[in-house]
């Protein structure tokens, strides 16, 4: 019934082969995507364990599992880890792996910069977690409000670890944002106009632009903080004429777009998964694209809704409140269009669809409580209470995590070349839905009952222990669900059924190539005449009432290239430059000499990198002219 691509299973089993050296020097976007994915999932476990300790501490009144300082460190690391070490890199994993495949490109625009981004992220994340071994993890919250982060009130090294590592990871984000912006704009296959770009890639593009514009303000904020802490300036020190509220503005000008940086990739995944499994095109794709752009644009004008209790005055509160409410409009459009995509389809209930639908259903709850917070009178009761904790977890867990798991299950066969278990996948889904709602829904009640965030203990007579206990039970159900996922993943990798090129009968270009793809992705440059090029090839234009009825689809890729393909050669210089950059940051905690060594390594690495030709003798090449060599 479902046409299969001519290339069934890949003959190129060599994609992931090779020793550790080949991974350290790789510039292949697919391998870098896998590296991002493994790192992010590992940190998901780390951040999850931190969350479980937090939940155990709060399970009953007057908990004594951890002390006050440890608790403050745990929620700071949990937040920072989940935002910068899990959700962003997990999105980056899917971006890296899928974007070139979905736009018909052989790699990203700057493959070595891509490697540099990954290693810089990894070293930055390691630096952050080294703070545990140095005995002083950061303790001022992931938002690190000044002046609690000043030397006077925070003399330890925790804040230094935090600001330097997030700063380093910011470099990685900006570099990768430039890379993917150029890739998406310049490297699309012939015929793929912007309106034919898949929704996932569109949302990725919006995310790259958000990162480009949002990271500079936080970089400035961190530089001010760095100067305050290391060189005695007073940007945030009120006793010396500085203003701590400046930090709040700079942080949230970054922080709110960051919310969309975290959620839009998931919107993109859902916009791919729902059409595939309802066997229909995405309903109102142009509306979806423009609403995504609008969400990103409005995201820069709403930062002060995080500051309704700061005391900015009624006029500012009104302006930011109304701007925030406007975001509900494009978000509502997305939800309705997703439901309309399902409407009238033939819905196939596979695991990716479960997670995509779960994302829609749960994100609605987070979106609606977000509308409550958009109203300052309501927000000043809910701000910094557990109501907000519930809200943000419905957005980031219900929204982002479910969306990204939809993506993982959807593209798993493409990435690994193996199918992943449906039974365990659905068990994972149901456990996660139950656990997630048990954990986070009661937090609404706690917030309404007056329980503030970030407290390590509460008195028994406040009546908060019942819902807290339920939340703790839910957290462990989530933990079990994640365990089920890892078991499922391991089973698939060891003994999973081999995946065909196109197991879901999907519409986009990545399914025209083998699973896993050959190193060069596309043997022939695909020609694209539709937003659903592969669907058009398989099912023809007859039943398609779109405007593309006369177009031809994109064929499945031939097994071997007819012409020689040269790929960029592996390079060790990006990882060396990344190491140097991280030493520049991390060295600040040791001494000037360490910084200078970092500078030397960075300069040397970038110098050698700059003068290394992109392709040199021994670089991977494929096709007729090179068959003898490989």
């Amino acid at each position: 019934m479902i046409p299969r691509a001519a290339t069934a299973t890949s003959a190129h089993g060599s994609l992931y082969a090779g020793g550790i050296r080949s991974w350290l020097t790789t510039v292949d976007h697919k391998r870098i995507g896998v590296l991002y994915g493994i790192s992010a999932l590992s940190y998901f476990v780390v951040g999850g364990v931190e969350a479980l300790i937090i939940r155990l501490q709060l399970a009953s009144a007057d908990g004594t599992l951890v002390g006050a300082d440890t608790f403050n460190q745990l929620f700071t690391m949990h937040g920072t880890t989940m935002v910068f070490l899990v959700l962003m890199p997990l999105s980056a994993a899917l971006f890296n792996y899928m974007i070139p495949l979905m736009i018909g490109a052989r790699d990203v625009a700057f493959p070595r910069l891509n490697a540099f981004s990954f290693w810089t992220f990894l070293f930055g994340s390691i630096l952050l977690n080294l703070s545990f071994f140095a005995g002083s993890p950061p303790n001022a919250g992931w938002f690190g409000y000044a002046n609690l982060t000043s030397r006077q009130y925070n003399p330890g090294m925790g804040i230094d670890f935090w600001l330097l590592s997030v700063q380093i990871m910011g470099v990685a984000s900006i570099a990768s944002a430039i890379n993917f912006t150029v890739t998406i704009l310049n490297m699309r296959a012939p015929g793929m106009s912007l309106m034919r770009v898949p929704l996932f890639v569109w949302m990725a593009l919006v995310v790259q632009v958000l990162m480009l514009l949002a990271f500079p303000p936080i970089t400035v904020a961190f530089i001010f903080l760095l100067f305050d802490r290391f060189f005695g300036t007073h940007f945030y020190i009120p006793s010396a004429g500085g203003t701590p509220i400046l930090w709040q503005h700079l942080f949230w000008i970054f922080g709110h777009p960051e919310v969309y940086i975290l959620i839009l990739p998931s919107f993109g995944v859902v916009s791919e998964v729902l059409p595939t499994f309802s066997r229909k095109p995405l309903f109102g794709a142009p509306f979806m694209i423009f609403s995504g752009i609008l969400i990103g644009f409005l995201g820069f004008g709403v930062w002060s809704h995080h500051m309704f209790t700061t005391g900015l005055g009624a006029v500012a509160d009104t302006a930011f409140s109304l701007a925030t409410m406007l975001i509900a409009i494009p978000t509502g459009v997305k939800i309705f269009n997703w439901i309309a995509t399902l409407w009238g389809g033939h819905i196939h209930f596979k695991t990716p669809l479960y997670f995509a639908v779960g994302m829609v259903g749960l994100f609605i709850i987070g979106g609606l409580s977000g509308i409550m917070h958009a109203s300052p009178p309501v927000d000043i009761q809910q701000h910094d209470s557990y109501f907000v904790v519930a809200h943000l977890h419905y957005v980031f867990f219900g929204g982002t995590v479910f969306g990204l798991f939809a993506g993982i299950y959807y593209w798993w066969p493409k990435i690994t070349g193996r199918m992943i278990g449906e039974g365990l996948g659905k068990l994972h889904f149901w456990l996660m839905v139950i656990g997630m709602n048990l954990t986070f829904f009661p937090m609404h009640f706690l917030g309404l009952d007056g329980m503030p965030r970030r407290i390590y203990t509460y008195a028994a007579d406040l009546g908060w222990d019942r819902w807290n206990l339920i939340a703790t039970v839910g957290a462990f159900v989530i933990a079990v669900s994640v365990l089920v996922f890892f078991i499922n993943a391991a089973r698939s990798l060891i003994a999973g059924e081999k995946a065909t090129a196109d197991p879901w009968d999907a519409a986009t270009l990545e399914w025209t190539i083998s699973s896993p793809p050959p190193e060069y992705n596309f043997a022939e440059v695909p020609q694209v005449n539709s937003a659903r090029p592969y669907w058009l090839y398989k099912h023809g234009p007859t039943r398609d009432i779109s405007r593309h009825t006369k177009a031809e689809g994109s064929q499945p890729q031939p097994e071997n290239p007819s012409q020689r393909i040269d790929l960029p050669s592996p390079s060790g210089w990006p990882i060396l430059a990344a190491l140097g950059l991280s030493l520049v940051g991390g060295g600040a905690l040791v001494g000037l000499w360490a910084v200078l060594i970092g500078v030397a390594i960075l300069v040397f690495g970038v110098y050698r990198w700059a003068f290394q030709p992109l392709e040199r003798p021994g670089h991977p090449s494929f096709g007729p002219a090179s068959t003898g060599r490989r």
């Binding site: 006050a68 066997r279 509502g332 459009v333 009178p377 309501v378 099912h539």
Partner: protein, 385 residues
């Protein structure tokens, strides 16, 4: 177990409060407004009881009992008060009005959208008899414009009460002659000054019922946030600038409050109690604070000698330290260490013996007092009333 019709009558009674007695012991169950939706739904679900068979009726009873027990968390445990939803001030009621509007709008949207989603999933699941490919609908512009305008229209109805209330809440305090109070946040305790009355106290705020309290909020160190859920919303205490917050308490009682902005190690222990007093009680309290009984001079000497006076002030004694909480009439307070522990001689002795082990990170130093000195100090301090 009460009979089902009885429960139904209670649930349907328009005048009922949200406390629904369910258990024979008569302990109350509070249904949070979030769950009012479920409550109405369950009533509708179980209304046609007469029409169903006996087995079903038993099943329904069990289900309803389970549902209500589950969602209301009914047990012999004293129910939570849902503090932000039971405000006892004008400020809190202004907020609750907007919350009520928003709750119903969002609850309505939630139900409609989730039902649409579930309906689409059930109705359009693939069947064996399906043709290979469903009709390929790419969009429907009129519909899409419709559901762009619909949220915009709803937002209009949310925005109006929101904006009106923003200006009410941030406007000048209502009525004449508010009671001016200066609140200063410290790591990790609250300083309350009554400039007109010449009173300085800590951690236990006294305000008269029915008179607007007009708070000037600032901080001595890092950012804190003043929050007494039943008296209204929170407002930050920023170092180096001043914020305003007013509320008119409408019911006497003791209200729990707490710092809501992470402010360091013992953020969780920066608690307070607000006593909303009737006018006679408040007058008695102000008099006692302005004219405290003369403390016994031996105790005052011990206070001075132990180093306590370097940080603490006690009206009517030489102790005039400004760093720590003012201890005038400390014996009258119900709690110690920012509402962490009850004010008993034993707890106060624990506190003097090792402040840091009572309250992590406490800035009050351990003065290595011997037990005799601790007994003297406790007797002296508890006598300040």
């Amino acid at each position: 177990m009460r009979s089902l019709p009885e429960i139904q009558r209670q649930l349907l009674d328009p005048d009922r409060s949200w406390r629904v007695p369910l258990t024979p012991t008569g302990s109350a169950c509070t249904l949070p407004p979030f769950l009012r939706v479920f409550e109405h739904w369950s009533i509708r679900l179980f209304r046609p009881l007469d029409a169903v068979s006996r087995e079903q009726s038993i099943l329904h009873k069990t289900l309803l009992a389970a549902l209500l027990t589950l969602i209301a968390g009914c047990s012999t445990v004293e129910p939570p008060e849902w503090r932000t939803l039971h405000p006892e001030s004008d400020f809190g009621h202004l907020i609750l009005n907007v919350y009520g509007d928003l709750f119903w709008w969002t609850a309505g949207i939630f139900v409609v959208v989730e039902l649409l989603l579930v309906y689409a999933l059930l109705r359009f699941r693939s069947r064996r008899t399906d043709s290979e490919v469903p009709e390929q609908v790419h969009g429907f512009t009129a519909l899409e414009i419709g559901w762009t305008l619909l949220p915009a229209a709803i937002l209009f109805f949310i925005a109006i009460p929101t904006v009106r209330t923003i200006f009410q809440l941030q406007g000048p305090p209502p009525g004449g002659d508010p009671l001016e109070i200066t609140v200063i946040g410290h790591q990790w305790w609250w300083e309350f000054q009554y400039p007109e009355l010449g009173i300085v106290t800590a951690n236990e705020l006294h305000v008269p019922v029915g008179r607007t309290a007009n708070l000037a909020l600032s901080s001595a160190d890092v950012i804190h946030s003043f929050w007494v859920p039943q008296l209204g919303g929170k407002r930050d205490l920023n170092p180096g600038s001043e914020n305003r917050l007013w509320f008119t308490p409408t019911k006497t009682g003791v209200y729990h409050g707490q710092c809501a902005e992470l402010c360091g190690t013992s953020h969780a222990n920066m608690r307070m109690r607000v006593f909303v007093d009737d006018s006679a009680t408040f007058a008695e309290w102000t008099t006692s604070m302005r004219e405290p009984a003369t403390p016994d001079s031996a105790g005052a000497m011990a206070f001075q000698m132990s180093g306590c006076a370097a940080c603490h002030a006690i009206a009517g004694t030489p102790a005039q330290g400004k760093v720590g909480p003012n201890l005038t009439n400390v014996g009258r307070r119900t709690t110690l260490a920012a509402s962490m522990i009850p004010n008993t001689p034993e707890k106060m002795a624990d506190w003097l013996r090792a402040p840091d082990s009572v309250k992590p990170g406490a800035l009050m130093p351990d003065l290595n007092l011997d037990e005799q000195r601790i007994r003297d100090l406790v007797q002296f301090l508890e006598g300040l009333r």
